[in-house]
Symmetry: C2
Subunit: 321 residues, 2 copies
């Protein structure tokens, strides 16, 4: 725990990334209790959902309101905003820029744009729009473990010249080890000396918290986390662990424990995320967890770990995926 950590900020993604688990079926009461808990705990940002457009996504009708955030609705949910800022994620091709109010009229402070490496240019175009409307911005490059260095170098050039505030190193598949994270952080620092960095980890191999604090030691400032780790598949770095770990005196773990006791433990009885063998296998193999999620959704197939491993590692089957 070093003085370096003092610039770190926590971005809680429970609603946004956790929504991928329960189709954003969080009650207003749940989200309000979470906001108040995070605010009391000193957490810097709460990512309260996606700001994608329902017109641009199929299956939109069934999802909870946190998938398509609306400013009027948000004002009712959070009538008394505290120090915890609000964030939303957008995906390129799924956001209608006309939906984004100027920051002065919005509840949101931070808009983050997620993309794969080949779409960094499009993502930066969006970032520019949000930046001009007054928002803090981040660019979240996903699936970095599958990106070749030459692609990364090209992307760095675009990013260096852009207005984006923070660039995220996202371990989408939960396949990175601490050494890999340190390598990537140093690479990003070398090529993006004018940008701040963020880390978003997944817990497939129980390394989400470790990778996050090691990234912080290496100079990463924005640290993504979820309460009780709630997030797609293996989930994320746990907010309670980060709050307990970071040296900043403003952080207080007790309200996060309260949120876990009152809401997360009961929710975990109904919904599933965390260290689950199918996701350990996809993490180990550096793959998207979708094959694991499909197996977990099938009650007959669930927990057939060896069959799953064989399917993903037998060449003639794996190659046709």
């Amino acid at each position: 725990m070093s003085a370096k950590n003092n610039n770190c900020k926590i971005v809680d993604c429970t609603i946004r990334d956790g929504g991928l688990v329960n189709n954003w079926d969080f009650s207003v009461e749940f989200v309000q209790h979470l906001y108040n808990s995070l605010n009391e705990a000193g957490v810097d940002y709460m990512e309260i959902g996606y700001k994608n457009s329902p017109k641009l996504l199929k299956g939109a009708d069934s999802a909870g309101p946190w998938r398509f955030l609306d400013d009027d609705f948000l004002r009712k949910v959070i009538p008394n905003k505290g120090n915890t800022k609000l964030s939303a994620l957008v995906d390129i091709g799924r956001v209608d820029e006309n939906d984004i109010l100027p920051r002065s009229e919005s509840m949101l402070d931070l808009i983050r744009v997620a993309c794969y490496i080949q779409d960094v240019d499009k993502a930066l175009d969006l970032v520019k729009i949000f930046h001009e409307r007054g928002y803090e911005t981040t660019l979240n490059i996903m699936a970095l473990s599958n990106v070749m260095e030459n692609q990364l170098i090209e992307a760095f050039q675009l990013i260096r010249e852009s207005v984006v505030d923070v660039v995220y190193i996202v371990d989408s598949y939960g396949s990175l080890k601490p050494n890999d994270y340190v390598y990537l952080v140093n690479k990003f620092k070398e090529h993006l000396p004018n940008k701040r960095l963020g880390a978003h980890t997944h817990n497939n191999m129980q390394l989400a918290f470790a990778n996050t604090i090691i990234a912080a030691e290496s100079g990463v400032e924005l640290l993504d986390a979820s309460v009780y780790g709630m997030g797609r598949a293996a989930g994320n770095c746990n907010t309670e662990l980060l709050v307990a770990h970071l040296p900043n005196a403003k952080y207080n773990v007790r309200p996060v424990l309260d949120m876990i006791e009152k809401y997360m433990l009961p929710l975990r009885e109904k919904e599933e995320w965390g260290y689950i063998m199918e996701y350990m296998v996809t993490g180990m193999l550096d793959e998207h967890p979708r094959s694991g999620m499909a197996q977990r959704d099938n009650v007959e197939m669930r927990d057939r770990v060896v069959e799953f491993y064989d399917r993903l590692t037998t060449p003639e089957i794996a190659h046709s995926k």
Copy 2:
């Protein structure tokens, strides 16, 4: 993942440390399947239980046979020993040295002696006896996070002059961070240049695997783990993660996945270990998990996380513990 890891050996503690969860109530079939799985997976050692004497322990009658290993019994359990060596743990004051056959007549290869820092001298006396009977030996110094440096320096002198093969850095409370482990490994290397090192971690803050691989990068050679993390309270580093991570070509994760699917997932339905909030709190506070275990045993109290946290952090209550 570096070439340094190539000297690493895995010591699976599922039966010994996992026995603390279920009072060593493992069937012979379970232990045989585990041995065969570990042997096929290339795991170097299986710690098959304690070699304490039932005469020196109360409550001995109710425990399974793995708490008081007997060589005749072991010969029946493992009729065809493979490459995986067998290990037993003893506690000082609880072992009768007359129970220990010469290694040439025993199924065991490795005897490990666990002690707190103030008993290192007594532990080394036992180590000497086992060493003279032909066993590989380790000294496992527990609760290092609560040891002052001057005590450690005194112990180092005794250890340097002893016959012990390997000295373990044990994070009994699951309170150490990666930086702490690196600090301790370097301290041990500096003072014990003639000894090999081991690491035994606990998963209270989801750092067991991370601390283990970071200790390995720093030069630790014997790595303790348990299948599916089974061990007291928050449990240990997961054998399957280590087997998947270490670069040695002899390791094969598939048999470990098979053990998990057939035996560990059903067992986890009945018995409890892992990332559980009470243990996260004791880890965070650098305390023995016994208060958490007591709360988990009480169905009325279980999951009252905030009350538990308050009890452990309110000065007038915490000081009387």
